[in-house]
Subunit: 383 residues, 2 copies
């Protein structure tokens, strides 16, 4: 399989069956070997990305978008791939991330399976995918891979970084490891370090995947992944991404048309979860999922200083920050958004904080763009 | 194996290996065949119970305690079994459920595995346990089994019913199906019907157990139950029983001493969940768990009238009610406690409602008896 670089040229390099690069995602190959946060080495690292709007050429009008755990770089549609992106309503001419003004650049996270190098990628010797032999990944590695990709583009500094969920962690890691390389930060439903409830949920999701006999200690044939485990892990994910209030409004105790006489679905909420799980399972490599999920648990701003406060103080160079949180978020609760905003203020960064009253929980930035778009647009208009 | 009846005499009848009756639990055998809410028939139904304090003989000083999903009838220690019960701090002379004044009677739920008949019990022909051939159980069946047991004791009416969690649902079912048989109701962290978030969590727990290859469609050898699935289901349970706030306070991001280099535990919260899961797994039969869990999802007060309001109105005969809820409960949230209290008030029942500020979530009635005891004692003193 061949990839396409920034100029539209094809690039050499094979992709494993577990990789699922969207048609418009381009590839930048990082020079030399990539050194991870934990000290391992990965040769031939590739980073997939998509972009919208005209680049100024030096990054000065670029907004970098880091994604949550599961999306690809296909955040919005484009000529080469008109299918809607995962943040379609937010990116485009006149939209919140206004491509008339900004060059919006979204990276597929290192460790993911949508074009960037990760456990689903082929080993350097081409002998099958890395799988669990891939070295431990941290959020810091996703940040550094992006920074190295920006080097390749010749962008010494970008205008701003936008990061929802895991992407907000990646943004913080980027700003801490590569000081001065962005002027503004927009953090959405993220955290300076995962809370134990979030760790518990993700740890259990990983255990569920690993307990599936088809996982085979991570050495499943790519065409026979542990779909049952992934399906259940995704259902648990949904229970943490949305909110009890939203489900009470949307589903209540509505029954399915043909209730299962045994232990199968009887309620609409069960069908809803099953449909979401089925959609996810085909699309995401289980080992990549394990790696990214673990990286989220392990991320802690405190690792970048003597403690969290001292680490946050290193972000003093930011010209502004905006922290958005959602009242009904149980995975990255409002308290964590407030703590992040306080940390940025403590660093002397002019920071605005908004608690949005959406009922869609952690997923509100995807599910309730009507509420997010005006706040995001307003902040970006002012920077 | 032999059981012991109310008088301390041994009773005949075999128990299956999946049954785990505590030493002090006595058995009452229900006469004739038990007819379930769904119309099935179960012969030879036995109900396990324990009691504390002197019975008046007619139930007039009896407080019936219905349990949550997992406990046995051993709610408190006694001479025959000095091990602490699941509500040890609440039951005894001078305690909230004051055995100087009340005769406290706790039933093991029908369908459970601690002495009462359920999927882990032997079939009528003695040929192995019922397992998944046991008919579908509803909360109403647990209530009716208790009512029939009270018939055997000659208690036409009891002073009050106390029900936490699933026990609160059982209490409502008892009061609706057997009107006039109790004078007072104390409901703790329960609901008139499960919310979709709770259904989602429990449905996923059941799926996790069923996906364990050792479940074998419910026909596992009793000595080889699906422990892996049960362990993960219990961890998910813990995440819904406690609260994110409590874990943030207790565990934060504290690491384990020897972090697993792979996908195993790195944080204390993971060890805590593992320890809780291990404790549960040996003690509870997986099929019984599936039956009780499903029954909780299916319970709806609305099934006892034209709608919820009309059904609740049938409880007008209660002399008083007390509804307790916990602010941090995500499984049976405060909104549901308020709805229950409103329903009782709508029925003309003098109802008091307390929202306790405990941080232990749904489990607070077990974990924070210091907060519960005074409120419960005060209510019971006045009835």
């Amino acid at each position: 399989m061949t990839g396409v670089d920034d100029t539209g040229e094809t690039v050499t390099g094979a992709a494993a069956p577990g990789e699922r690069r969207p048609p418009a995602s381009r590839i930048v190959e990082l020079p030399g070997a990539f050194r991870t946060w934990c000290g391992d080495t990965v040769p031939g690292v590739r980073v997939a990305y998509e972009s919208w709007g005209e680049p100024a050429g030096d990054g000065s009008n670029t907004l970098v978008v880091f994604t949550g755990l599961s999306p690809s770089a296909h955040a919005a549609s484009c000529e080469r791939d008109p299918s809607p992106g995962w943040w379609e309503a937010m990116i485009g001419p006149g939209r919140a991330l206004d491509t008339n003004r900004f060059h919006v650049l979204c990276f597929n996270s290192l460790g993911s399976c949508f074009g960037s190098t990760g456990p689903a990628s082929l080993r350097p010797d081409g002998e099958g995918p890395w799988q669990v032999d891939f070295p431990e990944l941290r959020i810091e590695d996703m940040a550094t891979a992006a920074a190295l990709a920006l080097d390749e583009f010749g962008y010494s500094r970008v205008h701003g970084i936008v990061g929802p969920s895991m992407g907000g962690m990646t943004a913080l890691a980027f700003l801490l490891r590569h000081p001065g390389r962005a002027r503004h930060l927009l953090s959405i439903s993220s955290a300076v370090g995962a809370a134990p409830f979030a760790i518990a949920v993700r740890s259990l999701q990983r255990e569920i995947v690993r307990y599936d006999p088809q996982w085979q200690e991570g050495r499943y044939p790519p065409e026979q992944p542990p779909v049952g485990g992934m399906r259940m892990a995704r259902k648990l994910g949904m229970a943490s991404y949305r909110s009890p209030q939203e489900w009470a409004q949307r589903f209540g105790r509505e029954k399915v048309e043909k209730p299962d006489p045994g232990f199968g679905p009887r309620f609409q909420i069960e069908s809803y979860l099953a449909a979401h799980a089925d959609k996810f399972v085909g699309g995401f490599d289980p080992n990549c999922y394990l790696y990214l999920s673990r990286a989220m648990d392990l991320f802690d701003v405190a690792d970048h200083g003597q403690d969290r406060d001292e680490a946050m103080a290193r972000l003093h160079y930011l010209e502004s920050a905006c922290v958005l949180g959602v009242e009904s978020d149980i995975l990255f609760p409002l308290e964590q958004q407030k703590a992040l905003a306080r940390g940025l203020e403590g660093a002397g960064v002019g920071t605005e904080f908004h608690a949005l009253p959406c009922i869609q929980g952690h997923d509100a930035f995807l599910a309730d763009t009507d509420s997010f778009a005006p706040v995001v647009a307003d902040y970006l208009r002012r920077i």
